[in-house]
Symmetry: C2
Subunit: 193 residues, 2 copies
DNA sequence: CCACTATTGGCACCGAGTGTCGAAACACGA
DNA sequence: TCGTGTTTCGACACTCGGTGCCAATAGTGG
């Protein structure tokens, strides 16, 4: 089917590896697309056929994980309170493969500590949030663009981000634990007084 | 003191007005810096002496409002539960001048509906979040970069964003009301008193 | 009238991103 | 074996945002 025509000379994974190596050496801003293209052994123009922008390279194939996220949420028992279902779903979604290459920690460090990527990433988070908003809407029979689904999706992202932030600050920390702690510290915070 | 040297030929407000007019006509992406420079009657190079980037123009003089935000929080009674002090502070901070030019609604519509600005804005939110994290840390005698202050600042932003989102969707809505509703819907969602 | 000073604006340059188009490299059927 | 169709590749030219540099400008004050 797709075996006709000129064969591809590279892949998302190829580019990702070469790019991460350069990012580690010279930093994200210090690495030009020309340098990546050269390292991969491909024309600069070709990079854009695999990734929409330089900012998208560190994200890899993130889109593909969203179906998995949807499944995780859909599989949550209906008798679980919505907030707990969402919370467990988020925690589950962030159980990454410890053998991943590039390592999850390296990827997230790049994404969350590089200003240009911090900024660009909100555009990627949007799809992730949409998954949550739709789940909440479906569970509570609301419109996905209503206040509660929207709020929940934003707050879930907020909790994940602060969990990741602390995780990055501590080499030994467990991401799962920190995501749990973020949620429980929010609950305590709101119960004060 | 500052009256020596060549006098300025424009101002932040000048540029902002000209830019907003063009953004309204041709959209943000469709407006080049050359066009703005020409409309203001100034060299393109000069624009960068007033704003760090094109993305910063819609934000205007946002930095300057942060001191006000700090004062608002500092003025909150100490016997108020922290979460409520922060919440009231956020609501108070978002009481904008209805006569503002450009109008607050137009500005926020641009900022929250233009992808490039949605992305870039997280870099501006960072300072705003820092104000909250520091207040929470001070009130609870914690480090500002600890989990709770970080989480609270992220969640406060999340609540504000979802309030704004719904506000933009409804011409008649009150931002203050929606910020209140965002907080109360979160509390219900988390099944708290 | 002469320094001094701060802003301006032009120029050259870099890097990301896009549109276009011909060429390369394969599979397949004649 | 030789086209033919198909798909990817890569080069080129171009736009736009952003930066470094520097001379010119237009004031103030002695």
């Amino acid at each position: 089917m797709s075996s006709r025509g000129r064969p591809v000379v590279t892949s998302h994974a190829d580019i990702e590896r070469a790019a991460f190596r350069l990012f580690a050496e010279r930093g994200f801003e210090g690495t030009t697309l020309d340098a990546i293209a050269e390292a991969v052994g491909v024309g600069r123009r070709t990079l854009f056929r695999y990734f929409d922008s330089k900012n998208d390279i560190p994200w890899g194939q993130f889109d593909r994980t969203l179906d998995g996220f949807r499944s995780i949420l859909a599989g949550m028992p209906d008798d679980l309170p919505v907030w707990e279902a969402v919370h467990r779903g988020v925690v589950e979604f962030n159980r990454f493969d410890p053998e991943a290459d590039p390592p999850h920690r390296e990827r997230m460090e790049l994404l969350l500590r590089t200003p240009a990527l911090q900024a660009h990433s909100v555009l990627r988070y949007a799809d992730w949030r949409q998954v949550i908003a739709e789940y909440v809407a479906q569970r509570l029979e609301l419109r996905p663009d209503g206040l509660l689904p929207e709020t929940v999706s934003q707050v879930s992202l907020a909790l994940a981000l602060s969990g990741y932030q602390l995780w990055l600050a501590d080499e030994e920390a467990s991401l799962t634990d920190l995501l749990e702690e973020a949620m429980s510290s929010l609950r305590e915070y709101l119960e004060l007084g």
